[in-house]
């Protein structure tokens, strides 16, 4: 670089300024989030169609789920989202250590979320509430809607759980880096992006909860 000022260490060689680089990273992340939204869209559209076609069965099926787990998990994710947002706030002030602690709290929330999910899945396995071919649950009658509901249930919550785990990994890595003082008040865009990802996971769950548990 032939710029007069010394380039900050995080500046990649092909960007002219750190601000532009961060702008690019942010835009890239938003585009990525858009693809994530559309990844889930196919499942939500499938849900919408079958909810329309088998509305009675779907309503009954959702009554056989543990609403209290859904509610608790929703609250857990909301709180974890809050701590992630607060962690970003701390990072902007250069307090890497409190960012780390807040992020770890969110990861803990994620762990609790996954535990509830695991408990729920185990319960379903025993009841025969399984997807597609393996569906043996009898309480919903012999109509075809039940197997589809549980196919969709596992696909949506499973894909979401996969994203929760990815998010936990990202938060851990970025949290550790924040504690190690890798980010400054000028450069903390990775913290921001990790937060965005976690918020998206929360955002999707906000729609999953009423559709699956309260339908």
């Amino acid at each position: 670089m032939s710029d007069a000022t010394v380039a900050p260490p995080q500046l990649a060689h092909h960007f002219e300024s750190l601000e532009k680089q961060q702008h690019a990273a942010r835009l890239g992340m938003w585009l990525f989030l858009a693809t994530e939204v559309l990844l889930f869209t196919a499942l939500f559209a499938g849900y919408g169609v079958y909810r329309y076609l088998y509305s009675d069965t779907f309503q009954q099926a959702s009554r056989h789920l543990h609403t209290w787990i859904g509610l608790t998990n929703t609250l857990i994710l909301i709180v974890s989202s809050f701590t992630v947002a607060a962690g970003l706030d701390q990072a902007a002030k250069g307090k890497g250590r409190s960012t780390f602690l807040l992020f770890m709290f969110s990861v803990l929330c994620g762990v609790v979320f996954m535990c509830f999910k695991a408990y729920e899945y185990t319960h379903h396995f025993h009841e025969g509430m399984l997807p597609g071919r393996y569906y043996t649950f009898e309480a919903l009658g012999s109509g075809p809607g039940g197997a589809i509901f549980f196919s969709l249930y596992y696909l949506i919550t499973g894909l979401h759980a996969f994203h929760v785990m990815l998010g936990m990994t990202v938060l851990t890595v970025i949290g550790l880096r924040a504690r190690a003082g890798r980010y400054t008040t000028e450069y903390f865009v990775p913290v921001e992006l990790a937060g965005l990802y976690w918020h998206l996971v929360d955002l999707i769950w906000i729609f999953v909860f009423p559709l699956i548990y309260l339908a």
């Binding site: 509610l71 947002a85 918020h199």
Partner: protein, 132 residues
């Protein structure tokens, strides 16, 4: 221009938003409880879902606008997210419209509005032999 845009974005993040976050958290918790209670109220057919979805949209907007800072950002990022939502609506809307307005027998048998199942034997897995 991109430069001023990125500058403004970074600037806004430097203000502390903690107070705002707390307010949003409170609102989200209240809305979550509301949606749970609303589901217990018995409403005529489509309304339960619509109410639940309306509340979810409100919650989602809060998360997107304040936790994800779309409120502070400009131009491209908002547009990206909005566009993706337009396409969500598009896919869900037009596929649903198809099922809702079809020749009723073309919907899966056993579903609302369709007639009882006609004879259907699923083909055996991998059975690509002549059955003639």
């Amino acid at each position: 221009m991109a430069v001023s845009e990125s500058h403004a974005e970074s600037e806004k993040l430097h203000h502390s938003h903690l107070g705002r976050y707390v307010a949003v958290l409170a609102a989200l918790v209240v809305l979550t409880v509301t949606t749970y209670l609303a589901a217990k109220v018995h409403l005529p057919a489509p309304w339960n879902v619509l109410v639940a979805l309306a509340i979810a949209t409100a919650k989602g907007s809060l998360v997107a606008l304040f936790f994800m800072h779309l409120w502070d950002q400009e131009g491209a990022n908002r547009l990206v997210f909005l566009t993706s939502l337009v396409f969500v609506a598009l896919l869900v809307g037009l596929t649903l419209a198809d099922n809702a307005t079809r020749f009723p027998l073309a919907n899966p048998p056993g579903s609302t509005g369709a007639l009882p199942a006609p004879e259907y034997v699923p083909p055996p897995q991998g059975g690509a032999t002549y059955q003639r």
